[in-house]
Symmetry: C4
Subunit: 392 residues, 4 copies
């Protein structure tokens, strides 16, 4: 019975494809606990709170703490999950979880409060654990892993930029100490103090607590500021490139999965779907947006991923839904748009440019025939949605 209960716990914590009512509840409780823990920790530091408020915040913090302890034990217990191989060595799976990044964070959230309870840490340090719960949100926010990937991919270049920045800061601080120490012995009292000036200046924060007054000091400060601008530029460029390429890579996976569900491409092999997915560009349009207009030049055809569009073919407009496509007629016959298509709801589209479209039907002649047949069906009997493109 134990493997079954382990799988049940695992599915409640990390539902694979189809979230159940239980897994939704568990996620809601965990997100509420994260919010409660962080808000209680932050709010509790405001001076002059009433005794009643403090008591309630303490209750929230305690409840959140209890949830986190239960979560940690449950994750440890069910670490092997659905993997039969790992299930045969449950303690190894647990150890793997315990030393993973998220496992360590799960522990760091509860440990300081445990140590505070036994008197080894003071309240301020225990509070850091409660705030650290914010990082647990990474499990529910797809954004954080993306950012982490980019920083890991570009780590070598960023480290290079950081090294140069640190060397410049130390040199700037030393020169500034030599120039300003005599004029302002209280402020520019030592090179470590000047390092504070250097970082505040290079990062262009400029608090104004340490300002050079000598001519030499100001000239050096000016050069440091210009270098700071240049230093800004380097990580900006590196991260921008990194983000662009990582997003492109991830978008491809999402696109592949959606293309594979389009009925039109149902009998293509994986390589064919990949070839199509590579050519499609995602686009989101708001409700009431006219995607194509009658009489405009035809530059692309569109696949509907989510949402709904309306084709204004008189007398009755046709609605198309996820899994259907439009805009292929004008492309096949090199003519102007024959109908205006407007988004009914916010709609996610995949765009296939005319030139890519021609490449594609050269490579996959079957596809040409299928699209032609649907297009002919539409031109013949416009108001009927075409049968082969049933909503997915």
């Amino acid at each position: 019975m134990r493997p079954d209960s382990r799988v049940a716990v695992h599915d409640a914590l990390e539902p694979a494809d189809h979230p159940t009512r239980l897994s939704w509840s568990v996620e809601a409780v965990l997100i509420a606990a994260i919010a409660g823990s962080v808000i209680a920790a932050i709010w509790g530091t405001v001076p002059g709170l009433s005794h009643q408020t403090l008591t309630r915040l303490g209750d929230v913090a305690l409840a959140a703490f209890a949830v986190f302890v239960a979560e940690y034990l449950a994750r440890l217990f069910s670490a092997a999950g659905r993997d039969p191989d790992a299930a045969s060595r449950p303690w190894q799976a647990r150890w793997l979880y315990a030393r993973s990044v998220l496992g360590v964070i799960d522990l760091l959230v509860i440990l300081p409060q445990l140590l505070h309870a036994v008197g080894w840490l003071d309240a301020d340090e225990a509070r850091l654990g409660a705030v650290l719960a914010l990082v647990k949100i990474a499990r529910y926010a797809p954004a954080l892993p993306l950012v982490i990937s980019v920083f890991r991919n570009e780590g070598r270049s960023l480290l290079a930029a950081l090294t140069v920045m640190l060397v410049l800061m130390v040199l700037a601080a030393s020169v500034m100490y030599t120039l300003e120490h005599r004029a302002q012995p209280q402020l520019f009292s030592s090179i470590p103090a000047c390092l504070w000036w250097a970082i505040v200046t290079i990062a262009s924060v400029g608090y104004g607590d340490m300002i050079p007054v000598t001519l030499g000091g100001r000239i050096v400060a000016g050069v440091v500021m210009l270098l700071g601008i240049a230093m800004f530029a380097v990580p900006a460029g590196i991260l921008a490139t990194g983000f662009a390429s990582e997003l492109r890579r991830r978008d491809f996976v999402v696109t592949w999965n959606t293309v594979a569900k389009v009925p039109l491409f149902a009998n293509l092999d994986a390589a064919g779907i990949a070839a199509i997915a590579r050519l499609l560009k995602p686009q989101i349009v708001p409700a009431h947006y006219a995607v194509v207009r009658r009489g405009e030049p035809a530059t692309a055809m569109y696949f509907i991923m989510t949402g709904e569009v309306e084709v204004d073919v008189p007398p009755n407009p046709v609605r198309l839904r996820a899994g259907q496509f439009f805009g292929e007629i004008a492309l096949l016959r090199q003519m102007l748009r024959t109908a205006t298509v407007t988004a009914v709801t916010e709609t996610q589209l995949l765009t296939l440019e005319a030139s890519d479209f021609r490449k594609l039907i050269d490579e996959f002649p079957d596809l040409r025939e299928r699209i032609s047949r649907i297009a002919e069906g539409r031109l013949g009997t416009p108001p009927t949605p075409t049968p082969p493109t049933n909503p997915a």
Copy 2:
């Protein structure tokens, strides 16, 4: 008669292609009302204004308010516009306008002043409505929709960057509270207060009202500043890419429309015009700029979109205008430029690179013949403008 008056009001507010004298006047009045409303609201807060000035500003604000109320009613009344389908359901069209972004803003501009008149809002809050009129300028500035498109397209990535930034800010504020609270209990009084420090520092604003003084606090602040630089870089890269691709997409539409008007391409179909439009690059040159110089290598041919150029063929220079082209002779014969062409006024050109030019005439043999014929005509009788390229 009602549909006619509705269309008339709609055309006065939103002229389709050919603005009339009436629509120009309406636009001028609305822009003046926006300017008056915003300036009166801003100026009216300056302390020590004379009674006379205040009265005049009040008059301006009242006039602008009246214009906005009239505009809102007119837009509601004529929401269905020229669309016969919408005209059959005018109240649905009105509801669609009322809940559109610009419709809500139009209402938010007048509502606070109405509520102020009945005593439900104070003067300060009513003034915000008057300033909000500035957003109405979006109807007349093509820039704002562009910026909105980019932010919508890149929303997912920007949200990811924002999430990471907010998590970092909360963690930084908590750590900073722990480190600085004892040294500066007045300034770093609570984590919410430290959050203010964190945002001011990460955004590299650095007001200087809260400055860490402990060694630990300064080290953490230095790390936060470096992270701030990195965090800057992410939206910069995302938005830069987004702007570039959105501008490219919009430029294509403009280029297509202008190419379609060039007489040379008059009998091409839509696909052919799109193929050409894709290859052309827009370029603006000032008056007196030499676009090509006699004896230089020929790298491109040019289509004139707006403005006028002069070809220095002796004895009498030739003027070419919008819709005409030049630079094709050297490309067809792979030789050096035979004449210098100078812009007479500021001139918008579309550039067709030599290599793209060769691809194009391979694909459209008709085009080659037409261009060759014109080029031969020019070489034979240079001072005569070629008949097939009459000004558009």
Copy 3:
């Protein structure tokens, strides 16, 4: 005789290709006058200068002013230059110069000092003219026209970004006035005062003279700072793209001119040279840098533009100079480098990648033969520099 003297003056001010001793002297005097004018104007404002210093600075300023007046008159006189067409209408040419950007600046440099002399402007305003002389340096710095081109090309996008930023600033200032006016009536005294806060915050300058203290004010300020980061990103991306494409365009012109001078390509037509120029990438290497190393894979061949390299073929190394090339042997035979080539002085190279190299010799079979013949000659008698590639 007058046209001759006009041409002589014009050549002294703007030498076409071959600067003469006279034109060098004129340029030196003008640059000295610019430096003198700017330094005298700046230095002269320092309080507590001795009477002697002030007198000398006045003399320098007066001399520079005399030079500028003479320059302006000379430029006016010789505006028609070498252009016979313009020479027939000299006053039109003069008017064109007078209303050109640089012509207006030339006038603005001298006019305030003239008006000061007759008592119409005070010393401070006259000084601005003297400092404006700095812009005249644009004639001698190739950088400024480049920057101006980029700003003109990208003007439309930058204006869009600026409009959004200004709208946001006005809205932010109005909201901030409503929130902070009661708490800090002295600082946030009016919306114009709050506009100062908004620009200082959005530009992330953060002087610290106006800091919100209310909770609402700080939340709005935090949002404004985040928007400021985003707003930073937009012009950054636009200008970065603009600079990259403008530099690419200019580099092509320079490369074309240098390729045309390489003896190897002497009998190619303009289109062939353009095809080659398009494939070459410029590279600058310092003295003692090993461009290729014996035994490394061959990935490119190199053309020397300036400087000198040494090929270590035993027993006697060979020196190659501007107009010669190396690295072609390994590419022709798909082998490893047969010799190390080191820069003797700082050397400007044009790099031709292996894959581009193959495309090129497919397109121009003559070229293949010429390079093969030279390469064979080198392999047969390595220490002799190949005759067809004499230094340019």
Copy 4:
């Protein structure tokens, strides 16, 4: 015997390919000396250190100084290194070292302390030498030469941006002096003082020591801030482009070297390896990361550069190590992944996209056969690692 000792010293300082125990020790001592020198110089300026601490820091600084003197002499002595040509002219090689950038820095580190010992420099100036030792780390950090390359390659563009920024600063300072001098004669006392304001504002540092108060001054300051944002953007774009292209160039060299070691490509010539290397993209995956999953579409094959992966072919998973490859089966047969492959340790992979893969086996038919043979071997007897891909 002397050439031998010179080579031995050179190898200890700059090991070519295989670092010896001696060269490791020398590097450790030199890095320790750099750290010691910098830390002692920085720490020694902190006020209120005990006599004992100061003595110890002095000892560390002296020891580091001795190491640097010994290093400089050793580098001078062994400058000719392993180059027999240079060895015949040892003094020329020494002079080349002495005037190289790193040679000058090596001297600048020891010279100030020597001059301080004889009383020609004071302690502050001598300390700058000790801090300058930080630049010596460039020999051990591959990052610094990279950054230097980028700044050299893009020097011309950066200089253009800097020139524009300096011209703007001087003009802004002059205008600001005219506007603010009367209102704040103490702060905006002269144009040089206003230059300090201009740089602090354009670099968006904003210390807050000089703040315009007049209406004109604030409007000019606002314009300067907006220009500052634009000026930021230019070096950002230039450096971002520069870094991207420099890293691409360097990565190619690294990739080529690793591809050449893959047994599969052992009998390709240099051009073939270069063709492959050009197509591969580096990727680092963490331990436990599933590189490919059973049933997913096949989009790439992978070469292992460092680390180890596990292929879950039942009954016994297979481990693949550096020099081996996987993912080729699905690509050859255009099917879905047949096995999940997970990284055992952090693993560096080179990715070959499916489309590039097809281009490659078209160009190199031998390669197709070799990969097919290995793939068939694997499909037939999955648990056995394929013999031709022994770990490198």
